[in-house]
């Protein structure tokens, strides 16, 4: 499985690199090949405007990865900070924070992100903002739980009694002990942010044409499914393979770092 996961990831990296080197043109319109199936010229066929699907997929994966990395990074930073403060100090601030996270978690799945993206309007930065607004909650909860259990470890108390300040305690003595948990969580969340981004773009709330995005391509693919089934199938298969590879990578990290996740 490990080999499988690596090979898909390596394939994707090579593909993106090749896309750069070959300077494919994802926006070139060729009206003679509209919705044509795979051919030697267009390996994955052409879309409803006669644009090369392969070039657009390679363009879309970049956007997808950029969004996933940005959102994961931002939500993790916010979540860690908020969660550590709450877990470290406890008391009323902690109770209030838990109440807030409860409210955010009362919106199932990506519903809240859909709502935010809808009112913020479409576009890349609003998409990232909507996903960040809703994404920090799970990190905050995870970090809070970890901090609370690590807070009473002897080495933390020893450091405290030697006069270490709060920031030092938090970042030098507590945070390093939960890196493995956070790394595993971040890997899985890369995949789920990619799905969320594709979902929002699928609903027309994310990246706007002419920029390529897998979600928007899937939506077009569904629209032209009866005449050009290859479109939706190829884009969907690409998305699934990348998500599968990232999740398998997460599994590997989880076993390697010996992390037990709450959700399993």
């Amino acid at each position: 499985m490990k080999f499988f996961s690596y090979s898909i990831l390596v394939c994707w990296l090579l593909a993106v690199l090749a896309g750069y080197l070959l300077q494919l043109n994802p926006n070139t319109i060729d009206l003679n090949v509209i919705l044509h199936g795979p051919s030697i010229e267009h390996w994955f066929g052409a879309d409803d405007l006669g644009r090369d699907i392969l070039a657009r997929i390679l363009d879309g994966v970049e956007v997808s990865l950029v969004v996933a990395l940005t959102v994961t990074l931002i939500t993790m930073l916010i979540g860690i900070l908020v969660g550590m403060l709450a877990g470290f100090y406890g008391g009323k601030a902690d109770a209030a924070l838990m109440q807030v996270t409860d409210i955010f978690l009362a919106f199932p799945g990506i519903l809240l992100a859909i709502a935010f993206a809808a009112v913020l309007g479409p576009g890349l930065s609003n998409l990232i903002l909507a996903l960040c607004l809703t994404g920090w909650v799970s990190y905050a909860r995870l970090t809070r739980g970890q901090t609370m259990s690590l807070r009473n470890r002897q080495h933390v108390q020893a450091a405290e009694s030697l006069g270490a300040g709060v920031p030092r305690l938090m970042f030098r003595h507590i945070l390093p002990l939960m890196t493995s948990v956070l790394v595993v969580e971040a890997t899985y969340s890369l995949a789920s942010v990619m799905i969320a981004e594709a979902s929002l773009s699928f609903l027309g709330l994310g990246i706007q044409s002419p920029n390529a995005s897998w979600g928007a391509m899937l939506r077009d693919g569904v629209r032209f499914m009866l005449v050009a089934p290859h479109y939706v199938l190829i884009v969907g298969a690409c998305l699934m393979s990348l998500i599968l590879a990232i999740n398998l990578g997460g599994d590997y990290l989880r076993d390697k770092l010996d992390v037990k996740r709450e959700t399993e």
Partner: protein
């Protein structure tokens, strides 16, 4: 005591959900009225809408009247069709509930037997296959599974209608699309939970009594193993409800999820607000019921009256 605490948190969460959905319209960059009506709208129309939505009043007062209107079952009016939103919700909501319940059924009917099978074949190749398939299929998003099912069963085989909700069989494909992910998660949970129980003393006793393996598994082990499943089903109802947004869009199923997407496309924000609120509230209520049901179903809790750590 448990009920009291559970209800308190229930009401705070409801309040928070109301506050957040209320604030949604204030997140709109610029003037929400202009965004909704477009730049060509007349001054009079704008002022009328502003007054109707109460946007000319102080924020706190707006929230107050929002709450009191909701209390009277008044969600306001759709900007697009001018009809009361409550009527829209009333016609669309049952379709979503129907879809969600059928998907739940599909998830249970596939997931639990598969889980039992995997647990009984633990560490054989069958278990390995089932586990790998279920772990990874649960991550399959609806906008990929939906079109694939549509292509195979509606377009190529022609067994089922492509989309819409005219015939009775229209519900099958969207329900499978939604239920599939759930079944994968249930398979995994049933397997884990059954394996834990199978090593217990009372199972050995049951076997020693000479009961048939069938009775031991179905009557003794499964009963205890199914308890955690209740919680999972409750939690998964959330992703089911959220999943309806995309599934309904793909299959043109006229439920609340599609209403949400339509309202977003038309910038009909009061409808968007109402849809988000209705879905979130349903989820909160389902979660409350799950929690209570779980406590009632667990004899250790029911009989002693003490809350055990679950």
């Amino acid at each position: 005591m448990f009920l009291l605490r559970r209800f308190t948190s229930f009401f705070t969460v409801i309040f928070g959900v109301l506050l957040l959905t209320f604030l949604l319209i204030h997140v709109v960059p610029g003037d929400p009225v202009e965004v909704m009506l477009g730049e060509s709208a007349s001054m009079a129309d704008r002022e009328a809408l502003r007054t109707e939505l109460g946007l000319d009043q102080p924020l706190l007062q707006q929230f107050g009247s929002y709450l009191s209107k909701l209390g009277h079952g008044d969600f306001g009016h759709s900007i697009h069709t001018k009809s009361p939103i409550i009527d829209l919700v009333k016609t669309r909501y049952p379709a979503t509930v129907k879809l969600a319940l059928l998907s739940l059924l599909i998830g249970l009917v596939i997931g639990i037997p598969m889980g039992i099978y995997a647990a009984l074949k633990a560490s054989h190749w069958q278990d390995f296959v089932v586990t790998i398939v279920s772990v990874r299929l649960s991550a399959m998003p609806a906008f990929w599974l939906g079109p694939v099912l549509m292509l195979i069963f509606a377009v190529w085989l022609g067994w089922l209608p492509v989309s819409g909700m005219e015939s009775n069989t229209s519900i099958i494909l969207p329900a499978i699309t939604l239920g599939f992910g759930l079944s994968a998660i249930l398979t995994r949970m049933t397997r884990t939970s059954l394996l834990e129980v199978l090593n217990d003393d009372y199972i050995r006793t049951a076997r020693a009594k000479g009961l048939s393996e069938r009775v031991v598994i179905l009557r003794h082990a499964l009963r205890a193993a199914l308890l955690p499943i209740i919680t999972i089903v409750g939690l998964q109802m959330g992703s089911l409800l959220a999943g309806t947004v995309i599934t309904e869009t793909i299959f043109s199923w006229d439920g609340i999820g599609r209403l949400l997407v339509e309202s977003i496309e038309k910038r009909d924000y009061p409808v968007t607000q109402a849809c988000v609120l209705v879905v979130a509230l349903s989820y909160v209520v389902v979660n409350l019921c799950t929690d209570i049901l779980y406590k009632l179903a667990d004899p250790r809790v029911r009989d002693s009256g003490i809350r055990t750590v679950s």
